[in-house]
Subunit: 342 residues, 2 copies
């Protein structure tokens, strides 16, 4: 049967001061009125029932997520520590296999904004079918809309059928020139939407992932803490997909955004005629291409461009839009009494 | 005897959203821990006692000012409407004359920042003495530190004694090139610090100020409302000083700032090594030449320059420092529910 795995970790820093450890971005209505985590679950309606959806997250976040998503407690997989996507997805796949040895898994992140739900379900179904039919680990590739240097790229290889192709190679976070070349050559963004049968995933892990594979017996014994203590953190991309020869790609036919920074709101939120995104009380006077986000007091900007201004959780942040990826560096510098939020 | 007149009007817009109609800038501790109005009164210690200090202001502000400044109620002159500086100073001079026909008046604004109190008192004494000795209306001129286009300039003429000279002419708000020429020619800023005997002032008004002079009998009858209704608003500079031939100038030997805009805080407040003024909780990270003012939540800026960021009275304002003179235009544009503060 089909199982879903929702990766819902995150330290809550990218959207500081709006996001906090107990309220990270997947619980915020960044793209609309629904949080991205709620939207991710709703998107699976008709494809995967809630009782076959496993949510991998951290302790700080688990109670709030379980409540928001109405997920059965036994389906909340609480990581004792963050160890990248490899252990999380391998653990969740083992858990699916324990309950259903013939399980197919569709894995995704809780912080995506996806515009066309129907196209998402069509793509997900194609990916799950390709995983079973071709006995491959299947990744969904998105057609790039810009030469993004923050993503991984997939170079497709030989066709397997009308919708699936082998993967020739992966290219993680290219420089700008390489990103342009990759776009021109038809490479796709690695979205993080994956499909596989648990049988195939665990076979590939056993063969290729020494960081995790030797410790899987601990999981069989129910020793989750020991498993996480023993393993070496590794991403699913580096630890499995880039090493395996049984990887295929299906092209995603929907609009996808991982809303990785404040900047991303300009892609998923409506803009005024001057290109400003104003969420919450605010007024952008003779200002252009700004993001005003207030869950507190009204924000008034005048005669400024390309700024992010946020009021949330008792903090006001002002920074250039194009530097929104630097928030972690800023937080490393901030005095703790200004930085730390509940 | 010496009397003081403190002009303490103001609509409370220049420092929006910190300043409000009931709490305009002269009641804010803009330059330090004391409000400029309190500092103005304290500065007169030993020169003019509080019981001979008249405060001209509006109804919205009078109670708060009387309390903050501990001024006797009979010394609060509440204008029924704002009518520029001419009627205010003429009224206050008449009031001083009524109580003391031989009064000398020193008039000043409540929103000044003055660094050297001793030098201020020395200058004020020189101005009062010159007013009496030479029977002149005396204005104190400040040596310009920049070609400011927002001020009026005084071109000094023939000397009257070691410290006082006649005024050759006034030049109101010159363009930038003219301001440079005026600076080079030794012109002084018209500070608004004036000294005169009430006898001389009222004689000059009778001769030169048809906007106000014919209505002074209403004041004699105690009909203040009728006086303000009948007169035509005019500044003391245009209505009296520029028309009179009995005007002298004394050079001010102190540092003076009228703190007319947010920008002015960079002149009267300490700056960090990157030129930022941070008042209240805040942190300027890789930012330079910014003004962060919070009487609310901490303000964090990152990688921005030359911005004003304010959190006060439930509003957040972000604008370029060099546009701080445009706040009135901004307020004209803002929806009332965002603009209006208590």
């Amino acid at each position: 049967m089909r199982w879903g795995v929702l990766l819902a970790g995150g330290s809550g820093t990218r959207f500081w001061p709006l996001s906090t450890p107990s309220h990270p971005k997947q619980l915020l209505p960044l793209a609309g009125t629904q949080s991205t985590a709620e939207a991710a679950v709703a998107r699976l309606d008709g494809l995967i029932p809630r009782e076959r959806l496993l949510v991998v997250t951290g302790a700080a976040l688990a109670p709030r997520l379980a409540e928001a998503l109405r997920i059965p407690p036994e389906n909340m997989l609480v990581e004792p520590r963050a160890a990248s996507t490899g252990p999380a997805l391998i653990w969740a796949s083992c858990e699916a296999a324990r309950r259903d040895p013939d399980a197919e898994v569709l894995s995704m992140h809780a912080d995506w904004s996806i515009a066309d739900e129907g196209a998402f379900r069509t793509t997900a179904t194609l990916a799950l079918d390709a995983a079973r039919t071709h006995d491959r680990l299947v990744t969904v590739g998105m057609v790039p809309s810009r030469p993004e240097t923050g993503y991984g790229y997939i170079v497709p290889g030989a066709p397997l059928d009308d919708s699936a192709r082998n993967v020739a190679r992966f290219q993680e976070k290219p420089d700008a020139a390489t990103a342009l070349d990759l776009m021109a050559a038809g490479a796709l963004w690695n979205s993080g939407l994956f499909a596989w049968t648990v049988t195939r995933l665990l076979a590939e892990v056993a063969q290729h992932t020494p960081e995790v594979a030797p410790h899987l017996t601990l999981l069989d014994e129910g020793r989750v803490e020991d498993f996480f203590a023993a393993l070496t953190p590794v991403s699913i991309d580096v630890g499995v997909l880039e090493r395996s020869r049984r990887v295929a790609v299906v092209r995603g036919a929907f609009t996808w955004d991982d809303i990785g920074t404040w900047e991303a709101l300009t892609r998923v939120r409506p803009k005024d005629p001057s290109g400003n995104v104003v969420a919450g009380p605010g007024f952008a006077h003779e200002s252009s291409d700004c993001i005003l986000w207030s869950s507190g007091d009204p924000i008034i900007t005048s005669q400024v461009q390309d700024l992010i201004v946020v009021h949330a959780n008792g903090r006001i942040l002002v920074m250039p839009r194009e530097r929104s990826a630097d928030i972690k560096k800023l937080l490393d510098t901030l005095p703790p009494e200004l930085r730390d939020l509940q």
